[in-house]
C-alpha cells in the first residue's frame, strides 16, 4: 500500500500510535513514580525500624515488615489517636496524615 496516497490515514495512524505509546509510557511512568513515592514515604520509618521495616535481630524496635498492612495501619492510627501509648511513636504518628499512613502501611505490610 502506498500510504502517500492516503495522507489522512497516515496522520490518523501516527496519531493513534502516538496516543497509545504516550499513554502506555505515562501509565508505566506513573506506576513507577507512584511506587517510588510510596517507597520514599515508607523509608521515613526505616531510620528506626530498618530498611523496608526489616530491623536488625539485636534491635529492640518491632520488626514491622512482619505485620500485615491492616495491622500496621491499625497501630499507626492508635498511636495517632492516643489509644496506644508509647515513647516515640505517639509523637511521630501525629505528624502523618491518614492518607500517608495508609500509603506506608500498604507498602510495608507483609504480603500474604
Amino acid at each position: 500500500m502506498n500510504l502517500n496516497k492516503y495522507p489522512f490515514l497516515l496522520a490518523s495512524v501516527i496519531l493513534s500510535l502516538s496516543i497509545v505509546f504516550f499513554n502506555v509510557s505515562v501509565m508505566a511512568q506513573t506506576k513507577s513514580a507512584q511506587e517510588l513515592y510510596q517507597r520514599g514515604l515508607a523509608a521515613t520509618c526505616a531510620n528506626c525500624h530498618g530498611t523496608d521495616g526489616k530491623g536488625q535481630e539485636n534491635a529492640t524496635m518491632p520488626k514491622i515488615n512482619q505485620l500485615t498492612s491492616e495491622q500496621i495501619l491499625t497501630q499507626l492510627k492508635a498511636f495517632k489517636s492516643g489509644a496506644r501509648t508509647g515513647t516515640i511513636m505517639p509523637q511521630l504518628a501525629k505528624g502523618y496524615t491518614d492518607e500517608q499512613m495508609q500509603t506506608i502501611a500498604d507498602y510495608l505490610g507483609k504480603k500474604q
Binding site: 500510504l3 511512568q29 517510588l36 513515592y37 521515613t44 531510620n47 536488625q56 524496635m61 505528624g95
Partner: protein, 421 residues
C-alpha cells in the same frame, strides 16, 4: 512513503517514552562525597530507588564509619569506639556502590569534575555533597595551637579524638575541672554538649567524685531538652555540674589551660573541650556553595539541590537548616532519602514528589543506661518552600528511662544498617 520510513517513524514513537528517562538514569554518573549518615544513606538509596540501575560512587577518606551519635558514651568510658564502628563493605557487596577511599580536594563546577587528593579526576553528572561540619578554629584565638599541642580536643567527629578525650579525663586527678564550651547555634548535634556533660559526670561520679564540670554556653539557655537536662543534673549529679549561659569564648591559652570570654572573667580548667562555631564541611565552602553567610549551603528542599549550583546536591549538617530542623545523623539520613528519590525521578523524567516528609529522633544518654529523647516530623510546605514541623506532633520524653536506653541502641543498630547495611 516507503516501509523503511514508516518503521522509522514507529521506532521514533516507540523510543519517545525513554528519551531523557531510563537512558539518562542508566548513563548518569552519580558521585556522593562523604560517607557519614547522609552520604552513605544517599549512596544506598540511590541504588535501591533505581532498582539497582543507577551508577553510584561514594568517596570517603576514612576506612570505616564511626557514629557520632552515642560517641559521648566513649568519652564517658562506658563504651568503646569499636561499638560504634561499621564497615562500608555492604555498600559494595550488597548494593553495588563503588566505594573509593580518598579525599576530594576540589570541585570544578563547570567541567563537572572532582580532583581527588590521590591525584585522579572523577567526572560526575550529579554530585551529592555530605561533608558534615568543619570547626571554625580561627574564631577562637589560640585554639589552633592549643589543638596542635593536645591541650584542647574537640572530639566532635567521632574517632581517635573521642578516645583521646576520655584518656585526658582518665589522667586527670580527682578534684579537677572539666570545662566544655558551646558555640552559638546552629552547630552539629544540639543536645550533644549537654549529653557529654552527663557522660563525664557519670564517669566522675564513679571514679573521681570530687571533680567538677563547667558548661560554658554561648547561647541564652540550653539549646535542646533544657528541662530534662537541668533535672538530670540536679538529681543524678548534685553539685557536680555548673551551667553558665551566655559565656562566649574568645580565646584559649593551651599552656595555662585558661579560657577567656567576651564579657566574663577568665576560667582555668584541667581538661578543656572547646567547641568553636561550626560551618559546612570544607569542600562545600571551597566550592562556593556555602551561600548562607559563607557558612552553610542553601538548598531547594524538594531535592536538596544547591541554590547556587545546578546538579550539586547538599545533605546533612552542611545545609542552611529549615526552622526547627536539627543538624543530626538521623536528619541527614532523612535528607538523603528525599534527595535520592528526587534525583532518580529527575533522571527518569518524572515529576519530583511535591510533598516530602522528614523525621528526626535524638536520644541522649543521662548516664550509661538511662535516656531521654526529642522527636519531630517535618512536612514540606509548598507555600513557604521549606520544611515545617507538624503542629501537635513530636515531643520529648517525660523523664529518663532505661527502656529508652534500649530503644536508643535499637535505633543505632537499625539506622546503621539502614545507612550502610
Amino acid at each position: 512513503m516507503d516501509r523503511r520510513y514508516f518503521l522509522g517513524t514507529l521506532g521514533a514513537l516507540a523510543a519517545y517514552p525513554s528519551i531523557g528517562s531510563a537512558t539518562s538514569l542508566n548513563k548518569a554518573e552519580i558521585v556522593v562525597v562523604g560517607g557519614g549518615y547522609g552520604g552513605a544513606t544517599a549512596a544506598k538509596y540511590l541504588r535501591l530507588f533505581s532498582n539497582y540501575t543507577a551508577k553510584v560512587t561514594l568517596i570517603e577518606p576514612n576506612a570505616q564509619f564511626v557514629s557520632c551519635p552515642l560517641s559521648n558514651l566513649v568519652v564517658g568510658g562506658s563504651r568503646s569506639i569499636g561499638d560504634l564502628t561499621s564497615s562500608y563493605a555492604n555498600l559494595k557487596s550488597r548494593h553495588g556502590v563503588k566505594v573509593v577511599k580518598d579525599y576530594v580536594a576540589s570541585i570544578d563546577r563547570d567541567k563537572k569534575t572532582l580532583k581527588l587528593a590521590s591525584g585522579s579526576t572523577v567526572k560526575f553528572d550529579k554530585l551529592i555533597l555530605s561533608p558534615g561540619v568543619s570547626m571554625m578554629t580561627d574564631k577562637i584565638e589560640g585554639l589552633a595551637s592549643a589543638n596542635q599541642s593536645g591541650a584542647t580536643i574537640q572530639a566532635w567527629k567521632a574517632g581517635a579524638d573521642t578516645v583521646a578525650l576520655h584518656q585526658q579525663l582518665a589522667a586527670m586527678e580527682d578534684g579537677g575541672v572539666f570545662a566544655i564550651s558551646i558555640p552559638l547555634a546552629p552547630y552539629r548535634c544540639p543536645p550533644g554538649p549537654y549529653e557529654r556533660a552527663c557522660q563525664v559526670a557519670s564517669y566522675f561520679k564513679k571514679y573521681k567524685p570530687k571533680s567538677k564540670i563547667l558548661i560554658l554556653d554561648a547561647n541564652q539557655d540550653i539549646v535542646s531538652k533544657p528541662a530534662l537536662f537541668k533535672k538530670a543534673w540536679a538529681e543524678e549529679y548534685p553539685g557536680m555540674i555548673e551551667y553558665r549561659p551566655q559565656f562566649n569564648v574568645t580565646e584559649v591559652d593551651g599552656k595555662t589551660k585558661t579560657i577567656k570570654f567576651e564579657v566574663q572573667e577568665d576560667i582555668k580548667a584541667d581538661v578543656l573541650n572547646i567547641l568553636p562555631p561550626m560551618r559546612a564541611g570544607d569542600i562545600a565552602v571551597n566550592a562556593g556553595i556555602a551561600n548562607a553567610n559563607g557558612r552553610w549551603a542553601e538548598v531547594n528542599f524538594l531535592n536538596f539541590e544547591s541554590t547556587s549550583a545546578k546538579d550539586i546536591h547538599v545533605l546533612g549538617d552542611s545545609i542552611q537548616i529549615a526552622p526547627l530542623m536539627p543538624k543530626s545523623g538521623h536528619m541527614a539520613n532523612s535528607h538523603a532519602k528525599v534527595a535520592a528519590a528526587a534525583i532518580i525521578s529527575e533522571l527518569n523524567g518524572w515529576d519530583i514528589n511535591p510533598a516530602p516528609v522528614l523525621t528526626n529522633t535524638c536520644y541522649s544518654f543521662i548516664d550509661s543506661q538511662k535516656v531521654v529523647h526529642v522527636a519531630s516530623v517535618h512536612q514540606y510546605n509548598s507555600a513557604e518552600k521549606t520544611f515545617k514541623t507538624v503542629p501537635g506532633s513530636g515531643g520529648l520524653s517525660p523523664e529518663p528511662s532505661i527502656l529508652e536506653g534500649l530503644y536508643a541502641w535499637g535505633w543505632a543498630r537499625n539506622i546503621w544498617a539502614d545507612s550502610l547495611g
